[in-house]
Symmetry: C2
Subunit: 455 residues, 2 copies
């Protein structure tokens, strides 16, 4: 082990190599439950591309696994340390190198926090759409690793759609450029897109060129109450079928509304089975909201309440953003699922998840980025109660099985990590899995990059 | 050879295996100049997935190369036959299997013609944006193979952004599914995106799930005349910098305008150095056009002419669509380049391309999807004049070199094929090239899929 530390320190400033056990423990895992984390040999915090190359050269020379990390806000254990590994934290590579309003691009290092980039883009009249719930903490590098989504995806898509080019340090320390800084480009296979969502298993992203958009008007929202999930799901389908493009289209069930009320005293309606939130960032949002409100009423909404102003809109969105934290307070711990289904299957998926919770005697709060079919059933449990923990894991798996059965995917935006790797094979099938493993082998022949994740 | 034909016929209907030399000659090449084409052993035209699997199993068993083809409207020789190969034409797999307005997807076979899908989507109030100039002939399979663009890309992006999932027959005949039919999904590496633009070198796409959008209002256009390419390029930068999102933003130079006039008698202005066309498909296009017109005037436009109505708009766009055909009439043959540069480099790129033409004593017409920096310098030459053909090839290469020098890519939307494969290495560099070849090896260990293309 001392050989490893000595060689790491040979190309890194002293403060970049951390071996304090308490600090290492803090870097051992992300925010996912049920995911084992090992004891790393060291945490390294490089500031330059050359330092990352040194780390990877050392790792390859000594055959030591490397676990790349952003802010560890991930929800699948993808950033968890393994025994004896180097934890490679990119947090200190946090410079915004360029924002160009003519090309509509930003060039950033991986440790830049999502919210910081968003605000910097705003200063130029530009907009970086991807907005995971953890946007005030999570990093662009982590977003790229997990192909993160957020509330905006129904209109603006996921992180992958904003990554134009990457600088990547390979397992053996070589530096590779992918993609471009032009708006278009089809020269060769799309390695950029291959790397997005690869959870650090193919290379270390050390720089990214991102597409920005013109900043839209602030969004205006409405809330609609439904007597059943079936009616709420029907409303979502009607909204999308009629050609509306809301900037946000969410569903929360009663369990979630109660939990949010308990935490925030927001006074959300607790007598409703499902609350739909819709928002538009168009030039005339009130007109769009009126049309959507009518569709909600036609689908059976008992109440449609448009926000009076931006402030009231923001409060509604805040309620949605608090859902996970609020449900965590119910029993202390949650397991958040991330099943994405066709929009037409939203109601069976969400009703099914709640029913699975009942079957196992657990609280399952259900919310969803309904506009894109990405549901987040949240299983609440007490981790100290062994039987409850077992039931939580079983219900979590049963929810994924239901998602696949309904034509969906096990992960819409959180990634596979450790949490769902047994499920990946089931979704992909043996042929695609074999090819994915083949690609991994091309990039990382010694299997050093984030081993034990995804596959 | 007779073994090959016998084995092919063993799993295919008689009419699906063509060995008539005249027919085979017609299937030998796409629309690119300067690209060698060989003599195939047979042209096969399967109608089912099982038949494609049979072709690939036979090819693998006998180690015969396979060249997949759509409508052969490609411009890089990517569909050209090689000696002794099986030409695998997907033209007869042309069913639109599903259009779903709630999920906003279409499921199609590869031989569906782009315009047919576009019209079918329109019937459901939906819109399939990618619109290559050849959209009335080219197929979705070909569009996926080359990651085609079109006039719409400045607002709607390229084909890649509309491919959600694929069914693919691998080199050995196995069938693989990639991607999803949900709006989001991050389960494993993005093989869908890897296959898009891979020019048939990784597998045979036999079915695609495509994203559709709500149909926008018909677009309204304006034309602005500029005294120099520099002023026109400046106008494009100002338009993008101010946050406008036109549905089309094109530039044509005087050479192109003259050629189009000669062909169509459209009466486009021939005294101007550069004509900019801008269009909006927003709810209030006239207001957007007025703002863009002001920016053009500020950048030095001598004349700004908004179209009076949709019909006049359509005529302007038609002028742009005729550019390649019109320039072909100049000398009989053209070589069309496809260099995409940062928007800020449009004027140096376009002026530079014209200057290269002058240097080599050739007509080079210049047009560009200016909004996304994708330029199409079109080198006109007489292929029967050996010296002129040599000068055409040299000027074509010099244009690509200029594009790379200006921070661009050798191909924005036409692909690499045979025409640019020597240039790919130059753009990618040795490390990325090695990984791309490694991926090819994983998918196609015997090198049977479209050999000699891309690399």
């Amino acid at each position: 082990m001392s050989t490893l530390l000595a060689q790491l320190r040979d190309g890194l400033p002293a403060e970049a190599v951390v071996t304090d056990p308490d600090v290492m423990a803090a870097y051992a895992h992300d925010m996912a439950g049920f995911c084992p984390a090992g004891d790393s040999a060291a945490v390294v915090l490089p500031r330059t591309v050359e330092q990352v190359q040194h780390v990877m050269r050392t790792a390859t020379a000594l055959r030591v696994p490397v676990v790349p990390q952003g802010a560890r806000t991930g929800l699948s254990g993808g950033a968890n340390a393994s025994d004896g590994c180097i934890v490679l934290s990119l947090l200190r590579m946090d410079r915004i190198l360029e924002i160009d309003p003519v090309e509509r691009i930003a060039v950033v290092e991986p440790g830049v926090v999502n919210a910081r980039l968003s605000r910097a883009a705003n200063e130029h009249g530009l907009f970086y759409p991807p907005d995971p719930s953890s946007w005030e903490e999570c990093t662009i590098g982590g977003n790229i690793g997990t192909a993160s989504g957020g509330l905006c995806c129904v209109k603006y898509g996921v992180t992958a759609e904003y990554v134009l080019g990457l600088e990547v340090v390979l397992a053996d320390g070589r530096l590779m450029s992918t993609g471009r800084r032009t708006a278009k480009g089809v020269a060769g296979y799309d390695l950029t897109r291959l790397l997005v969502g690869s959870e650090g298993s193919l290379g270390i992203v050390v720089q990214a060129t991102l597409a920005l958009r013109p900043e839209p008007p602030a969004q205006l929202a409405l809330a609609a109450e439904f007597p059943s999930m079936a009616a709420a799901g029907d409303a979502v389908c009607r909204i999308m079928e009629r050609g509306h493009t809301p900037s946000l289209l969410e569903i929360m069930d009663r369990t979630t509304l109660r939990a949010v009320n308990k935490l925030t005293r927001m006074g959300l309606p607790e007598s409703t089975e499902a609350l739909v939130l819709a928002a538009f960032d168009t030039p005339e949002p009130a007109a769009d909201l009126a049309a959507v409100g009518d569709l909600c009423t036609a689908a059976g909404a008992t109440e449609v309440v448009p926000a009076e102003d931006r402030a009231e809109s923001e409060m509604l969105l805040q309620a949605r953003r608090m859902a996970l934290v609020a449900l965590e307070k119910v029993t202390g711990t949650t397991l958040i699922d991330d099943v994405c289904v066709p929009r037409g299957q939203l109601a069976p998926m969400l009703d099914g998840a709640a029913a699975i919770g009942e079957k196992y005697g657990l609280t399952v709060g259900v919310c969803a980025h309904a506009g894109d079919g990405n549901t987040h059933p949240i299983v609440c449990f007490d981790p100290k109660d062994e039987d409850e923990a077992r039931r939580a894991r079983e219900s979590f798996d049963e929810i994924m099985a239901l998602g696949i059965e309904l034509g969906g995917t096990i992960t819409g935006e959180h990634g596979v990590g450790v949490l769902k790797k047994e499920w990946l094979a089931r979704e992909l099938g043996p042929v695609a899995l074999e090819l994915q493993r083949g690609i991994k082998q091309v990039f990382d022949p010694h299997g050093l990059l984030n081993p034990g994740k995804i596959f």
